[in-house]
């Protein structure tokens, strides 16, 4: 079975998103755009309208140590994955939401908020979703510097009142 023809080229992506960040081809079917927080919504909009990226594959999040990173993986009928990468400062982890542009992003954003503590401005319901209800506020298990605090209660069954 032969692959679907890849019609989206590096030049097209450069033409569409070149002014929003540096563009590089990282794999035969993956083009990465290093963008910044203020430009990311514009980049998503342009990827949708100019590059026909109508499907969000994944919003990956990672902790780089100094910064947090978000990678929006978009694709479309051309089957080329366009990655919009943004770095987020650790002390002020805030990005505008993409949930109104990409409906499935709402789910991914809540998950990232829960596990990495990135706040998505404008998200309509950014609440605890993946960790249990008793999880202490302000602790994000997927951050590299997170260690469980023995004095905190992380869930399970609470002992009967002492």
């Amino acid at each position: 079975m032969s692959a679907a023809p890849v019609t989206l080229t590096l030049d097209q992506v450069k033409a569409a998103l070149g002014d929003l960040g540096t563009v590089e081809q990282v794999r035969s079917n993956r083009i990465k755009v290093h963008s910044t927080i203020p430009k990311v919504r514009e980049a998503i909009l342009r990827a949708q309208s100019l590059l026909a990226c109508d499907h969000v594959v994944q919003i990956a999040a990672a902790d780089n140590g100094k910064t947090l990173e978000l990678l929006y993986h978009l694709t479309g009928a051309h089957r080329m994955v366009v990655v919009l990468a943004i770095e987020i400062p650790r002390d002020k982890p805030e990005v505008p939401t993409a949930s109104d542009l990409l409906p499935p992003a709402g789910i991914y954003e809540r998950q990232i908020h829960d596990l990495l503590g990135i706040t998505f401005r404008g998200h309509p319901a950014l609440k605890r979703i993946i960790l249990n209800e008793d999880w202490p506020e302000g602790e994000y298990p997927l951050r590299k510097d997170w260690k469980p605090d023995p004095t905190h209660f992380y869930g399970g069954v609470r002992e009967e009142a002492k």
């Binding site: 794999r27 499935p104 998950q111 596990l115 998200h123």
Partner: protein, 393 residues
């Protein structure tokens, strides 16, 4: 009858896995709902960062018991890409055989569960009986019925002997006959048609917009299959075709899955008959160089994505798993609104939810979509109140 909140789950007979919908129903019609699917969150992504490539594979295998092979294949394939390893073709074929057997067992399981959801237990029993043949094949080849332990970084752990291949080939004709029968039954069984047709409808536009994947998307006419669009393991060498359908409802998803069952059987037969000779593994280096990999795989439920970062060590720096179920939840929430309460199980089952995989969030945000006005706060308060009452009893 006034609006009532029907909590479905986390322990509920329709769902063998924990999930909680708080369904607000007016009489029998669903007005709005909230999904909460994180009961199975175990923290696998964090644990993966602290285990080396050998020990992490059994862990990832247990992300989900139904698509255990998918998770290990997608991971090892990503690590191999980072290490720039070339995997011997025999290993690729064995991976494909197990992958397609897994798809068959998963789809047969799904067909039975879907029948069970609409109370048609006879079909459920039959499909599960025939699924045993697939399970036997898997057990004979890999040594376990659920967690096959086939993959390792660099190849596969077990070779297939000629006897195993012959035994598997012998089982296929009977299975093929049964599949033909199911293909016929799905189209002829009146009560099933009543419950499947027009239920949980998604248009092609909706499917694209809501990010549906796998059979859910293909049933709505979205021609999207990673096995063809980004071919991996041996799919580029095997003759097969993508099954799509235009019904867009549960019935369409059934047709797609039955069609894929037949395709998978053909693929398995081809791979068994044309299994290349040679080694089954290459020795991987201990550590993977710094790399960032997005590796995709067509799991039985749809596109499975692992985002992997490696950093010159024998552990991953970051592993972000996006499961097909997670991608499909948004579409479920939309297709449930205005449906009958009785249709919840079958619509939810139609995406073949795998909540262990998802093991994380989900809540479909009620605003922005036409799901309703009730905020998550109010709803969760209702839910908590309900459980408090239940708990006091």
């Amino acid at each position: 009858m006034a609006e009532v909140i029907v909590p479905v789950g986390p322990q509920h007979p329709a769902l063998k896995e924990p999930v909680n919908f708080k369904v607000v129903a007016d009489g029998e019609t669903i007005v709005r709902l909230e999904l909460d699917v994180s009961y199975n969150h175990r923290g696998i992504e964090k644990a993966a960062e602290s285990r080396d490539f050998v020990r992490v594979v059994p862990l990832l295998e247990r992300v989900c018991g139904i698509c255990s092979h998918s998770h290990t294949t997608v991971f090892t394939k990503g690590i191999e890409e980072a290490m720039k390893l070339t995997i011997p073709p025999r290993a690729q074929y064995i991976r494909t055989i197990v992958a397609e057997l897994e798809r068959m067992h998963s789809h047969l399981l799904w067909l039975g569960v879907a029948a069970h959801e609409v109370g048609f237990n006879t079909l459920f029993m039959w499909t599960w009986r025939d699924r045993e043949a697939v399970q036997d094949m898997l057990e004979e080849m890999t040594g376990n019925r659920v967690n096959y332990g086939t993959n390792e970084v660099g190849g596969v752990r077990r070779d297939l002997t000629p006897e195993q291949i012959q035994a598997a080939l012998k089982r296929l004709p009977k299975l093929e006959e049964r599949l033909a029968k199911y293909a016929e039954m799905v189209n002829a069984e009146e009560t099933m048609l009543l419950r499947f047709k027009g239920v949980g409808h998604l248009t092609k536009e909706q499917a694209l917009q809501l990010g549906a994947v796998g059979p859910t998307a293909r049933a709505s006419g979205v021609d999207y299959d990673i096995r063809r669009d980004d071919p991996y393991i041996a799919y580029a060498d095997i003759p097969w075709k993508v099954i799509t359908d235009t019904h867009g409802d549960v019935y369409g998803r059934t047709l797609v899955r039955v069609g894929e069952l037949q395709q998978s059987l053909e693929m398995i037969r081809y791979c068994l008959q044309n299994l290349p000779a040679g080694p089954i593994r290459t020795a991987p280096p201990r550590a993977a160089p710094r790399a960032e990999i997005l590796t995709r795989y067509e799991a039985p439920r749809g596109e499975l994505v692992h985002f992997i970062r490696t950093n010159n060590t024998d552990k991953v720096e970051r592993l972000d798993i996006r499961t097909p179920t997670l991608a499909n939840w948004t579409s479920v929430a939309v297709s449930l609104v205005n449906q009958n309460l009785a249709d919840i199980p079958v619509i939810v089952a139609a995406i073949d939810p795998c909540l262990s995989c998802t093991s994380r969030i989900t809540v479909v945000n009620p605003k922005g979509r036409h799901v309703g006005e009730m905020t998550w706060d109010e709803l969760s308060e209702h839910g908590r109140e309900f459980y408090r009452r239940r708990g006091r009893r």
